[in-house]
Amino acid sequence: MSQQASVSSICSPLPAFEVRQLSFRYDSVRSRPPGDRSNWVINGMELTIRQGEIVGVIGPNGSGKSSLLKLLTKLVRPQEGTIRLFGAELGALSRESISRQVAYMPQDLSYDFPFSVLDMVLMGRFPYRRSGLWNLVGWERQEDLAVAEEAMAQTDVTHLANRMIATLSAGERQRVLLARALAQVPRVLMLDEPTAHLDLNHQLDVCRILQRVHAQLQMTVLLVSHDINLASQYCDRILVMKQGTVVCIGTPQDVIHPRVLTEVYGCQVLVDTHPDTGLPRVSLPAQDRHQTVAASGML
């Protein structure tokens, strides 16, 4: 443990996240007998995320991907283990100071209240608000508007500024949420399924924006996705999770391997290379379908 700490301090810059022996479960520990180690959502996880890399998190449903993101943003607290954010103990940091460094884009938000796109993006400036006696309600200052405007330009939603959020398409909403996250001026961007429910074109939009932002601002990006091909194309490293543990982490070429994926997902997969990028590409084999057809034919 001390060896690892000294190594990380020599290799500057500091890692964005350093996770050691992390264990977490949702229910309270009180109700369990001591020594019971079942139902961990995250179980003894070790992980280091370097500054400025794009890391994709993949794994089957219930493998703890979303919980990992929540732990890393201190939305939930772990029962065991430590998380360090740029060298600082996450548990000791205030929510506000975390939110100035880490932006989290959740999977689902409520669009019931008639907020405008500009309202939404400006919410990203909340960690920087300065309210006082003369500014009780915490109005944004000019610099907040400038940052929000820049963020909206980066995700191409400027023309939507005065539209109501409920009237937008799913792709536009996702870009607005991305703008809101960028308005936080974070060092780390965390995205939970940013391309879920989007058509191909909008998936491409979101990914291109992510790449552009990453290149321009040297942001560390952590994204959870069910789309392995997308992760393969856009991520520097891929983290494969199963039952709350790290199965492996590495470059797409190393990790996206039929043996790994079969072990994790429990089904046969084909991996070939993408004709343009040369990166690994995943598809489901045809025999599964044949087997199903054969099985139904036997009935």
Partner: protein, 373 residues
């Protein structure tokens, strides 16, 4: 107002030091946004305050004894010292306290309604959803049943109501936060349950009351602003002022919570603290209001919706505008209630619903309102 140079011009102000190290691009939209936000807030609040003052003066004219505008004005400015004492007594001793009470009660109901709708993320929420009102009603009924309504110089009834409201606040809060946190669905359920239990107990109490006391309970339940005592007026005014300050401080946090709790927390909102604050402030204010004026319906639920249609969902604007709008609605409704069948009176809740309902329906049908669309 700063005029932003067009991109072709070279004189561009440096971005502030905390802005990201990327070149700032200016374009036409931004100037109007800035104008739209802080300035719009002052403009809208200013207009609403003027409207409120106008409504107060307007309402002073009407009543069982109609006064002319000139009489009202001279009585208000004390320019007729010694003469026309009738008008002055009517205005200062009778109408002004009552109108002020209407303003305070309407403002309290509307601002708590707006805050609670955001807190529990439910468009049907109103100040009475937390079960505080039933507790207060039960307290008042018990006070009347015991024949203690007239103690402490007529303040007995509000006092009992406030105690009842306080007990139900503790109950609702205790039930909802029994597992450490304060989940909003549990808060709603706890409110509904306490409401039901208190209503049942109140029905039992009314069934054994004598007819005279029963009539007072029924009148009180319908809600009335008549003959407010000065201590009650000061008490409500103080509660309202503190509540407005506390709620406005949390208004941006309420915006974030209305969109999503996890996302709000990741932006630095201490959701637990904000939710507890908003609940307690709303509950105490509701308890105080119900104690002095009974249950006046409609204002707390509909005024926030009307304001959202007209001004948007930003709680920094929504909360104060709702307060002033609710105050105006209740003042005007009460004036109608005490005028049209004078010297008798109609319960003011009837008028709020009859004025507010059609207006709300008109807005719903003509504007694109997308709350829970």
């Amino acid at each position: 107002m700063i005029v932003h140079p067009s991109p072709s011009q070279t004189s561009m102000s440096d971005p502030p030091p905390t802005a990201p190290p990327v070149p700032m691009r200016m374009y036409e939209g931004m100037a109007s946004w800035q104008a739209l936000r802080a300035r719009r807030w002052y403009a809208v609040i200013g207009v609403m305050m003027l409207l409120t003052c106008g409504a107060i003066v307007f309402c002073l004219q009407f009543g069982a004894h109609a006064l002319t505008m000139a009489e009202v004005w001279s009585a208000l400015t004390f320019s007729t010292a010694g003469r026309e004492d009738v008008a002055r007594v009517i205005i200062w001793d009778i109408r002004f306290p009552r109108i002020l009470m209407g303003l305070f009660v309407g403002a309290s109901l509307a601002i708590t309604g707006a805050a609670l709708q955001a807190l529990v993320r439910n468009p049907l929420a109103d100040p009475y959803v937390l079960g505080i009102s039933s507790g207060a009603a039960l307290g008042a009924t018990i006070g009347l049943a015991l024949g203690l309504g007239a103690i402490v110089g007529g303040l007995g009834l509000p006092l009992f109501a406030f105690i009842g409201g306080g007990v139900s606040i503790v109950l609702v809060y205790g039930i909802a936060s029994s597992q450490g946190q304060l989940p909003m669905h549990q808060l709603l359920l706890a409110g509904v349950i306490v409401n039901a239990v208190c209503s049942a107990l109140m029905m039992f109490a009314t069934s054994i009351l004598n007819p005279a006391s029963l009539y007072r309970v029924v009148l009180w339940l319908m809600g009335t602003l008549s003959a407010p005592s000065i201590p009650a007026l000061i008490g409500i005014g103080a509660c309202l002022l503190i509540a407005i300050v506390l709620l406005l401080r949390e208004s941006q946090a309420l915006n974030l919570l209305a969109v999503g709790e996890d996302a709000a927390c990741s932006l630095g909102v201490d959701s637990d603290r904000v939710q507890r604050t908003v609940f307690l402030v709303s509950a105490v204010l509701t308890g105080a209001v119900v104690s002095v004026s009974g249950m006046i319906g409609f204002v707390g639920m509909v005024v926030p919706h009307v304001v959202r249609i007209l001004c948007g969902a930003d709680h920094r604007l929504l909360l104060p505008v709702s307060a002033l709008g609710g105050g105006i609605l209740l003042m005007v409704a009460d004036t109608v209630a005490r005028t049209i069948v004078a010297p008798a009176e109609i319960p003011v809740g009837v008028i709020t619903a009859l004025i507010g309902g059609p207006f709300f329906i008109y807005l719903l049908m003509t504007r694109k309102y997308r709350f829970f669309a």
